[in-house]
Structure formats: C-alpha cells, structure tokens
C-alpha cells in the first residue's frame, strides 16, 4: 500500500517506517496473530478483510489518524486553506468527497477550538459550504433517483455537528442561464450534438466544473475542495494520456489548480481508494451508490481505463501511487499553486513549508492559452498551425480555441453542426473563445517578430 519511495510526499513514508518496525516485531512473534495495533501498541487492530497488505495492523484510531494526517499535510504544505478563506466542498455523494467533507469539517472544528482558546482571537475561522451538482438534466436516467439523492445529501450536511454549513444544490444546466427550461433545452441540444460517448461524458464533467465554479464565485467562496483521491487521479493520468492530453496533464494532478477563478484544491490527492472506503466503513458513512451507477454508461474510454487501473492495482497495490508519482514529475504550470497575491495571509510556518515542498514551476509561460471547452492549457505546437487558419466565422474561431483532444472527441466535425454547437455553449465557454483569439493573435505576433526582439536574458549576456 505504501509507495516504495522515500520521496513520496503522501505520508507513506511514515507508514513505511512503521512497516519496517513491524517486520522486526513479527520476526519475534512469528506465527502469533497480531493482537495489538503496531502503532499505539495498546488497541486492538482493525481487520477490514479487503485484502490490503496492511490489513489488521492498525487500530481504528491510528488508521484514521494516519489518513487524516495525509489530508492535513496536504492542506498545510500547499496553503490550501487559510484562516480567512471561505471553502466550498464539492460533494457528489461518493465516498471520496464524503471523506473530504468530513475532514474539512474536522479541521474547521479544530480551528474554532483554537480560536476560542486564543486570547486575542486574531485568526478568524475559515468558513465551509457544500455544493452538490444535480446532473439529471444531462443524464435523464438519474431523474428518478435525484429527489432521494438530494434529500440524502441535505440530511448528511445538516447532520454534521456545528458550525452549520450552507448547502448549494446546483443544477448542471445553471451554467446556461437562470431560465431553467431554456437552460435545460440548450444543455440537451449541446450534448446531442456530440457523437462520441466519451466526449459527451467529458463535456458533462467540464460543465459540472463550470457550475461548481459559478456557484463558488457567486457566493463568495475562495477555495473549491474536490475530493479526488490517488486512485482517481491515476485513472485521470491514463485517460489524459490516451486522449492525447499529455501537455495539459501536469496541470490537473497537482494539489492546487488555480487556473480557475476560485482555485481548486485536492487535499485527498495522496490517499488511495482503499483508505477512503475503509474510513467510510469505520465512520459508518454511506454513499450514493445508486447515483454513481446510473451516472455513467459502461462503454467509453474512461471506463476502459478505470478497469485497466483496477486490474493493475490488483496485480500491484502500489501501482496507482506510482502512476500518480510519475505524472507528478511532469513540470507543473505556474497556476499549480495558490496565487502570490494571497501570500500575505499565509502564515509564516506554512510559507516555510511551501518552500520545502517547492515544485519547479515553469514561470516563462504566464500567457498560457486555455481550451475553451476543457480549460486545459494548449500546447504551443498545437495552436501554431491554427495561426495560419483563416478564420471565416465563429465556428472556426471556436475550433481554433479548443485543444486537439476536444476538437476530436467533442466538437462536431461538419461546419453546420459546429455552428449549432457553438451557439449552444454556455456563455463562459464562448467568452473563452474570444479571449483565446486575443491571446493567440498576440502570441502569433510575438512569434512573428521574435527574431527582432532583444530578450531580457540576452541583454544580460
């Protein structure tokens, strides 16, 4: 389960030390079944019976502390949540986001206790809200489950101990405007014009992110917590690779993704799925399984990758960890950290820790162009052939503003459908098209006159 690398920042390192100790012990007590937790050495260890390599080694408390420890390390070392923040947790009803919600909640209680204990009460306590995206307009099969699902979500959120949290139930079609019937129509029309099943699935995911961003920024949130765990990200690494999204991949799998108006943080990035399910089991958390099942057709690239990753994980329990670790070695983008302007409210200790975990950022490309549909950074070599692209209409501009992957699997191939598609897109995406056009022509100009420019670095020499 632990990644076999000392450089792993996920906290597996601590676990490995424990495992090492454990080996020494079991050499002494060979054959005798463990009766105490290898960490605290007093409680009875938990047996989950899930075939995990460290099953039956830790007591419930130590196991929980270990997972929470990874979460907290991720939060503090990347300045994900600061006292002045207002945090929105994206809650899908699945196990990962349930754990994310729980941990953020616990962090908030701790902060509140500290606040009440402190004399000057100088540090405020961060706020927490919860958002649930209702996708039934995109997946009509969900409609029947949705009423129950929403009330389940509502009771889960209200059942949390105080401080109370706002719950935002966001219909996915809300990105198309406030008139719900018209918005629904546009969504259906848009999805209908995408012929590739995987493309459609991905488009829904992009729209879902847009609706989360919309509700976050409209309600004054400063962070969006997404509960993606290592296993989920491992699948993402491979789906991105097989869709030809190698360039933008490194943007998606870091702890922080601040390319959005409200920065996204992934505090469970270093926890694997098995840990998540164990924790849900321990804490008695339910999840919305019916919703998860009804959401996806079992045929696309995404599902194929998921089953491939599951197979790999079965063969080697550290495989998911290795996959994410490989992708983490790719150079991140400048936006894969909390923006500098926020640094003032980041406590000093955190700043120091940030330095320790310093990633090599590519500072040279701060004028990155983003795909109008998936918001992925576009590789310069992909857009270079577009500069010669003679733009004759809006559909061409849209085509030019998309990454090669979205062009293939989402954009309709013939011109009239493409125009129709473009007119159904949510405003946010079409505004990206115009922005892209601007960035792109600037980049084009720069490229054209590059030889005549004296760059700063050259001057220094």
């Amino acid at each position: 389960m632990a990644c076999n690398s000392s450089g792993c920042e996920s906290g597996c390192y601590d676990r490995e030390k424990e495992n090492g100790r454990k080996i020494e012990e079991s050499a002494v007590a060979d054959g005798v079944k463990e009766s105490v937790c290898v960490k605290c050495k007093c409680n009875e260890p938990m047996t989950f019976g899930d075939g995990g390599s460290d099953d039956g080694r830790f007591c419930a408390e130590c196991f929980r502390n270990n997972v929470f420890g990874k979460f907290r390390l991720a939060v503090t070392s990347h300045a994900m949540i600061t006292p002045s923040d207002n945090v929105l947790v994206a809650f899908s009803g699945g196990s990962s986001s349930r754990v994310a919600l729980q941990f953020v909640h616990e962090l908030q209680i701790k902060a509140l206790k500290n606040y009440e204990a402190s004399r000057d009460r100088s540090l405020p306590v961060f706020g927490v809200g919860v958002a649930f995206v209702d996708e039934s307009a995109a997946y009509p099969a969900l409609s029947t489950e949705m009423v129950d699902a929403v009330s389940w979500i509502r009771s889960t959120v209200t059942d949390l101990s105080p401080p109370a949290k706002d719950l935002h139930v966001v219909p996915i079609e809300s990105v198309f405007g406030s008139d719900s019937i018209e918005a629904r129509d546009r969504l259906v029309k848009l999805l209908d014009s995408v012929s590739d099943e995987t493309g459609k699935e991905d488009l829904v995911l992009h729209l879902k992110m847009l609706s989360l961003q919309k509700v976050a920024s409209e309600n004054g949130y400063t962070r969006l917590v997404v509960g993606s765990c290592t296993s989920r990200l491992a699948s993402h690494v491979l789906t991105a690779t097989v869709k030809g999204r190698g360039y933008s991949l490194s943007a998606d799998i870091q702890h922080v993704d601040a390319r959005w108006k409200v920065p996204i943080v992934l505090p469970l990035r270093d926890c694997i799925w098995q840990e998540i399910t164990r924790l849900c089991h321990l804490d008695g958390f339910d999840s919305l399984k019916t919703l998860e099942l009804a959401r996806h057709p079992q045929s696309g690239i995404n599902d194929l990758v998921s089953s491939f990753v599951a197979l790999l994980q079965e063969e080697n329990p550290s495989r998911e960890c290795t996959i994410v670790r490989t992708a983490a070695k790719l150079t991140p983008f400048y936006f894969n950290k909390i923006p500098e302007t926020d640094d003032a409210c980041v406590p000093l200790a955190t700043q120091r820790r940030l330095k320790k975990f310093n990633l090599k950022y590519d500072g040279s490309m701060t004028t990155e162009a983003f795909c109008a549909i998936c918001n992925g950074p576009i590789n310069g070599s992909d857009s270079s052939d577009l500069n010669t692209f003679e733009e004759r209409g809006e559909s061409d501009a849209l085509y030019a503003a998309c990454c090669s992957s979205c062009r293939f699997q989402i954009l309709p191939q013939d011109r009239s459908s493409l125009e129709q598609f473009g007119s159904s897109l949510p405003h946010h995406m079409t505004s990206q098209v115009n922005h892209h056009h601007k960035v792109n022509s600037q980049a084009y100009l720069r490229e054209k006159i590059k030889d005549c420019l004296i760059l700063d670095t050259e001057e220094a020499i």
Binding site: D196, T198, V237, L238, A240, T241, V242, K243, G244, R245, G246, Y247, L249, S250, S299, G300, I301, L304, F308, L311, L312, E315, N316, R319, T322, I323, R325, T326, A327, K329, L330, T331, K360, D362, N379, S381, S404, S405, R407, F408, Q413, D414, R415
Partner: protein, 378 residues
C-alpha cells in the same frame, strides 16, 4: 478526422473508395476506419512513411543504413518499404539488412544461397552476424558453461547490444528498427506505470542515440501494427519468402533454447498494457496516435531528460558503470567465472569500481531489470 469533411460522408454512395472515389474499397483502414481500395492503401501507407522520413530528416544522402531484421513482420515490411522509397524518391541510401544470429556456428554455409536470393529479389543485401562474431561466444556455448537457468541474463544483455555492436562492426551511419506505433504507445504506458520519467521522455523520439556512435531511428513510429500486417497480405509479390528466410535462419540456430521473449517471465502488467492498447484501438483507433502525442508533449524538465550516462571503457557502449554489462559477463565467461555479473553477485570490475565512486552496488542489476523485456530492445 479533420480531413474527412464533406465529401467522404455521403452514405451509400455506391460504395467507392473514399480517397480516390473511383475503385471499390477492399478494406477499412485500421488507422482511420476509412473504406479504401487496395491502391489507395499502398499509397497512403507508403506516403505517410515517406512524409515521416522527410519531415523528421531521418536520413542524409549517401548514408549507409542497416535495417535491423529480426525476421518478424515489422522489420521485413520496413525493409521492403524502405528500399522502395529509397528507389522512388532517390534518398541515395546504401541499405542493407542486418540480422543477428544468436546461436550455433556454421550456419553460413547453409544459408549462403538464401542470402543471394534475397539480394536478387529485393535488391537488399542481408548481413548476418553471429554472437561468435560479436562476442566470441555462441549462445549454445554459454548455455553449456552456465546452464539454462541463468542464460536469460546473457541473452537479454547480449541481444540488447547485438545490433549496435553489429552496426559498429559494419561501419554503418544509422540503424533503423521496425518498432511501430503500437510498440511505442505501449512503451509510453509502461514507463508511466513503472515511474520511469527519464525513459518516458525519450521513448517517443523518432531518433535516439544521436550523440552516440550510431543513431537509431524508427520510420514506423506512426504506423499501425494492423496496417503492417495488411500491407504484405495485399501485395502481389510473394513477400513471405523474405520473412521466412530470415526466420528460418534464426530459428534453426536455436537448438538449445529458443530466443523467445517469454523466457523473461514478464511482469503481468506488461501483458495488461498490450491488451489495453488493443481494447483502446477497438474503441477509438486514434488512441494509439494520441498516446504517442501525449508522450511527445509531456512537460519534462530538460534536466531529467538526459540522465548521466557514461560509456563502457572497454567497448564504448552506453554504460553507467566502468564496464558495460555485456563486457562484465564476457569477462566472467572468458575467465571461467560465468556467474560473474549475474544478479546481485558482487566482485569483479564494477564491484571494485563502486568503492571508488560510491555507486550503489545493485544499480547495474537494477537498471537491467527495468530494461529487460523492454519492447524497444531487440
């Protein structure tokens, strides 16, 4: 996809080839799923490879180029296509097939006739070098010395270097291999799965080892395996004989144990990866090209791109140690200590060397482990 605008999409338009619109289609092209005729298939197949060669400036006129011929379909089709393109487009290359015989000595007398026939039929000379030529030992002799159990170590190491050594021996300028798009896509995935960022950055390069003595290149980088299988089967030439001749030579020479890759007992995930790519291709043919594109586009810092690599003091082959693995193994054989350099056994040249440089002792063995079975190694 972008090219398929308009004209190709008329449903049921009396079923003509969607490229020439004249002849009847005979196949669905695996790469694009276009329905095309036999003539157009040859044309796009060959033209794409020509464009890859020209676009990447793979060769210079007058170069002596060895085609690594394993007797498999990839290298055989490559040999045929390259010699065709060389003629058609006046590349000006001195092309020949280079085959490595890993087994018994004395095969040459038997095969002389075959070699001549190849020269006549395809205008391509075939050069066969034996392990005896390259290393002074045949695989049979090695097996006799060390037993069957350890010979994987030898054949893995020796095979990996064989083409390079052979190419050096024959003073070639470039070595081309028949690795196809499926192979490269698989390697990209495997490098992700095992966390090998350095290889991940290199494995999609169409030419490797440009700073070394003999650059290697892969003209089939974007060519689908399925199309490589289709190509000769549609060709009127009795094309199989060439494959057959080379294969016969190689298989005959293996009296003791066959040079089968499966003897390496591969990790299970390797097999999964190949299957996965096949499944992907069924779902979306373009996925193979997309994986290669991802491999090319990954943002990898230039510092990780070039890991420190020295050369062997003895033979000049790339090695992180004083002596390369093959030279260590050879030294053991020649000194009558065949276990030297196998697994984690210490001592010997690099063992002493390690004390001076503080390199981890198992590093040679480890890099071997991660390399062997590599689909990009011959």
């Amino acid at each position: 996809m972008e090219a398929s605008e308009g004209k190709s999409k008329k449903p049921g338009a009396s079923r003509l080839c969607c490229l020439c619109n004249q002849r009847r289609p005979v196949l669905k092209r695996p790469k694009t799923l276009q329905q095309i005729c036999r003539e157009c298939f040859y044309e796009v197949f060959e033209e794409e490879i020509h464009q890859v060669i020209v676009g990447n400036r793979l060769f210079k006129s007058g170069e002596r180029v060895a085609i690594g011929a394993s007797g498999g379909k990839d290298s055989t089709v490559l040999a045929y296509v390259l010699s065709e393109l060389n003629r058609r487009h006046n590349y000006g290359l001195d092309l020949f097939l280079l085959s490595i015989d890993e087994g018994i000595t004395g095969y040459r007398d038997d095969s002389l006739e075959t070699v001549k026939r190849n020269e006549v039929q395809y205008g391509l000379p075939l050069q066969i070098l034996s392990y005896k030529d390259l290393y002074g030992w045949t695989m049979d002799e090695i097996v006799k010395m060390i037993g069957l159990k350890n010979n994987c170590t030898f054949c893995g190491v020796f095979r990996r270097q064989a083409l390079d050594r052979g190419a050096a021996l024959l003073k070639v300028d470039k070595l081309v291999t028949g690795h196809n798009a499926d192979d490269i896509a698989e390697t990209v995935l495997l490098n992700i799965l095992r966390g090998d960022i350095a290889r991940l950055s290199r494995c999609t390069s169409i030419t490797t080892g440009e700073d070394g003595p003999i650059p290697r290149c892969k003209p089939f980088k974007y060519t689908y395996e399925k199309e490589i299988v289709i190509y000769p089967s549609l060709l009127k030439l009795n094309f199989d004989t060439l494959t057959y001749d080379i294969r016969m030579l190689i298989s005959r020479s293996w009296t003791t144990s066959p040079p089968n890759v499966s003897i390496y007992s591969p990790n299970a995930y390797r097999g999964f990866a190949r299957e996965f790519i096949k499944d992907l291709e069924r779902l979306r043919p373009r996925a193979i090209l997309d994986i290669i594109k991802s491999g090319e586009d990954f943002r990898i810092a230039t510092t990780t791109k070039m890991p420190e690599q020295g050369t062997c003091e003895r033979c000049g082959y790339i090695s992180s140690q004083k002596w390369c693995k093959a030279c260590v193994l050879l030294e053991g054989l020649n000194r009558g200590l065949p276990k030297m350099g196998i697994g984690r056994a210490r001592g010997g040249v690099n063992g002493d060397h390690k004390k001076e440089t503080k390199k981890p002792p198992a590093s040679a063995a480890k890099s071997l482990e991660s390399k062997q079975c590599g689909s990009l190694d011959f």
